[in-house]
Amino acid sequence: MMRDMKILNQDFLIYRGEGMERKKTYIEDVDRGIYDVKNELSYKYKADKGLTPDIVREISREKNEPNWMTDFRLKSLEIYNSKPIPTWGPDLSELNIEEIITYIRPDTEMKHSWDDVPEDIKNTFELLGLPQAERESLAGVGAQYDSEVVYHNIRKELVDQGVVYMDMETALIEYEDIVREYFMTLVPPSDHKFAALHGAVWSGGSFVYVPEGVDVDIPLQSYFRLNAPGAGQFEHTLIIVEKGSRLHFIEGCSAPKYKVNNLHAGCVELFVKENASLRYSTIENWSKNMFNLNTKRAVVDKNGTIEWVSGSFGSKVSMLYPMSILRGEGARSEFTGITFASKGQHLDTGTKVVHAAPYTTSTVNSKSISKDGGYAFYRGLLKVAPKAYGCKSTVSCESLMLDNESISDTLPIIELNNDNIDIGHEAKIGRISDEAIFYLMSRGISEEEAKAMIVRGFVEPITKELPLEYAVELNNLINIELEGTIG
């Protein structure tokens, strides 16, 4: 009975649609407003296209790096040249790395006061809502423009407590010992081809060091942005949270679109020590020609906690699987992620959790939305080592499809190597139910708004984990993405 009604209803919708001009347009026609503002290019230095040991040496020399780093880069280049492009995931054949300029330095020196930042750069950030956020009680803003951090500030009381928050280049000079001890030990260049590429040409990024027993009560933020056509971005983020400390780090990305294929191969390494806790929040919103091949990894010691909050929007292709290695007894990881794939996008995202010690726990909560022919793929791994008894894990994946041109796949791999564990996994796929829409419409809400409400409700577990201004931005992004779908 119900089903018959549904069909009638659909027929009616089609009929109604014929007489009217439908609002259905695609994202590329929609003005994404502030997200598509680009500036006139101005360079001080630009590396040649392609990648040779000479270029790598040049990058290193330009940055006045210590010899060990130059050697590290050259070694990584060797590994990079020896590794094949991975073929198990999305199609990367359109990615011509030789064409991508690996190093562009903006025509600006490091500034420590907002007033000194050049006007055009400032304008873009202003449109992105950054300075307001900075002025309103936030600790520090390290905004990356092209390949280097151009603006950087951290509140005085944090400095007094010994918290270090600076760009990676400066950290390499001022905290050389710490950087040398940790740099690319968690994500070695031998891990995969793009980790090796990162090792060879990395540039910019953030360095955070929280000493023992410090509770950083306000989130640290950095906003990355790509600007030059054909420019890759290879920022490196290294965060060390010592025993008993606490930190919330927020990374957000937005980039205007360009015709040349772009590559983002960043690397994030997080070290969470005993009893420490780190929350790492990201909204990635790359332009729709970007290849986002980012590697993020955290290692957690005894009773430590890592929390990932991850929003993946934009980009042409994404391969992003933040990984948590729970190596200390009682360590905990929590992953909350949302992926939104639209026209022309193939977003292959997920998370990996390795339970390497007893009594470790993990939670994965992943949501994906696909529309207008977008392809959302959840690929996850949950692995429990033989000696990691008493582990608990819950994995939940939900997918929402907004039309039948899109594709949504879920592939969670579970590998268990002992018996004293408690593992639960569930996944669901489907579309917005007609009943729910009908109910909301019967309350006087328009069909468009009803659908938007349901989608916002679907992603609510993610938005509520974010600070207010980011939650607002995420909701805006969803509204921009939904524009044109519903109508």
């Binding site: 592939l411 791999i413 268990l416 639960g424 796929i429 489907g430």
Partner: protein, 355 residues
């Protein structure tokens, strides 16, 4: 040479194949008119199965299937005429022994519209011989037909077992699979169902028991092509000693499968710290108006259940056995052959009590 990473099959070579000389069709009474049951090498009428699209078949892999097609030494071809229904199950029994150590069976079942049948395949080994089984079964269930296939695999721990099963289901047709995996040193089995047309349906229930050094790769795929098609996968297992299992459950909603529903569920009891259990449940979707769900869970027998049973005077082993049998019971009860049920029960009991 075949390498199969997850179940540690390294550079595997197919053994020499001998003739299978024993009778494998067990008929207690005459089959009614309208049914043709033959040994595979007697007749295969390819014209009856014109919608077969072999390039879609993956099964355990091209190597295994083409090996069967070239070297089969046994198997059946079953043809059910329109409207023919048989209530009693047909029993096909392969028992490997010293003289007949290899079974390469190729089975084709064609069910014309509105027909119905249940076929039981029982694979076992007699002695402590190294047996080898590699089979390929294809089913064509036409409009409104119902085919139930029950496969019981009890070959010994020295043997290798491989089995590929494919079904094509037409409008309102239904294919039910029941798989009981108890034996073999290394066992790979694959069940793939193509739900081709409107309201086609498939249900798969399976149980497995891993003990000793047993390694199993169990793969179940439901490929929804027709609208309103329905599928359900339900798997229960227990692992002990150094056994390893890989579970792959694929729900694949192709474009056009609107209003379809698919569900899969796996539940595994882990009984020893040395077991290995991999689960790869995939949910693939090209159509928005569908409902797909999968759930997997793994854990130990709950302490409170054990405590309760032991407080009633059962030993720990007996209590565990009772709990595992309880998990398997609903699926074993669906086998419509008393004698075989008893064989399965006593086999499970023997394994659990000797552990």
């Amino acid at each position: 040479m075949i390498t199969w990473k997850r179940i540690r099959l390294d550079n595997f070579l197919f053994p020499k194949i001998y003739d299978y000389k024993k009778e494998f069709i067990r008929l207690e009474e005459e089959l009614p008119l309208g049914i043709r049951l033959d040994k595979i090498y007697d007749t295969i009428d390819r014209t009856k199965i014109n919608w077969l699209s072999t390039n879609e078949i993956n099964g355990l892999g091209k190597e295994f299937i083409s090996f069967v097609n070239e070297f089969y030494n046994s198997g059946i071809s079953l043809y059910l005429q329109k409207d023919i229904k048989i209530n009693k199950p047909l029993v096909i029994e392969f028992n490997m022994d010293k003289e007949n150590p290899t079974v390469i069976d190729k089975n084709i079942i064609v069910a014309e519209p509105n027909s119905e049948a249940t076929i039981i395949f029982h694979y076992s080994t007699d002695d402590d011989i190294e047996a080898f089984h590699n089979g390929f079964t294809e089913i064509h269930a036409k409009e409104n037909s119902t085919i139930t296939i029950i496969k019981v695999q009890r070959v010994n721990s020295l043997s290798h077992n491989f089995d590929t099963n494919i079904a094509y289901v037409k409008g309102e047709g239904k294919v039910n699979w029941i798989s009981v995996e108890l034996g073999s040193h290394i066992s790979g089995s694959d069940y793939t169902t193509f739900l081709e047309e409107e309201a086609s349906e498939s249900n798969l229930s399976s149980i497995y028991l891993g003990d000793g050094n047993r390694k199993m790769d169990l793969s179940y795929s439901m490929i929804h092509k027709g609208p309103r098609s329905i599928s359900n996968i339900e798997t229960r297992g227990a692992l002990m000693d150094n056994s390893k299992k890989v579970f792959r459950g694929n729900l694949d909603f192709k474009k056009g499968a609107r209003l379809s529903k698919g569900a899969e569920e796996e539940y595994v009891l882990l009984l020893d710290p040395t077991v290995k259990s991999d689960s790869i449940p995939a949910l693939l979707c090209e159509e928005d108006d569908v409902q797909g769900e999968h759930a997997a869970s793994a854990g130990q027998i709950s302490e409170s259940q054990l405590f309760y049973l032991m407080s009633r005077g059962l030993s720990e082993r007996e209590a565990k056995k009772l709990i595992i049998e309880g998990a398997f019971r609903p699926i074993i009860d669906r086998i419509p052959l008393e004698g075989l049920k008893q064989i399965i029960d006593s086999e499970i009991e023997r394994r659990l009590m000797n552990a």
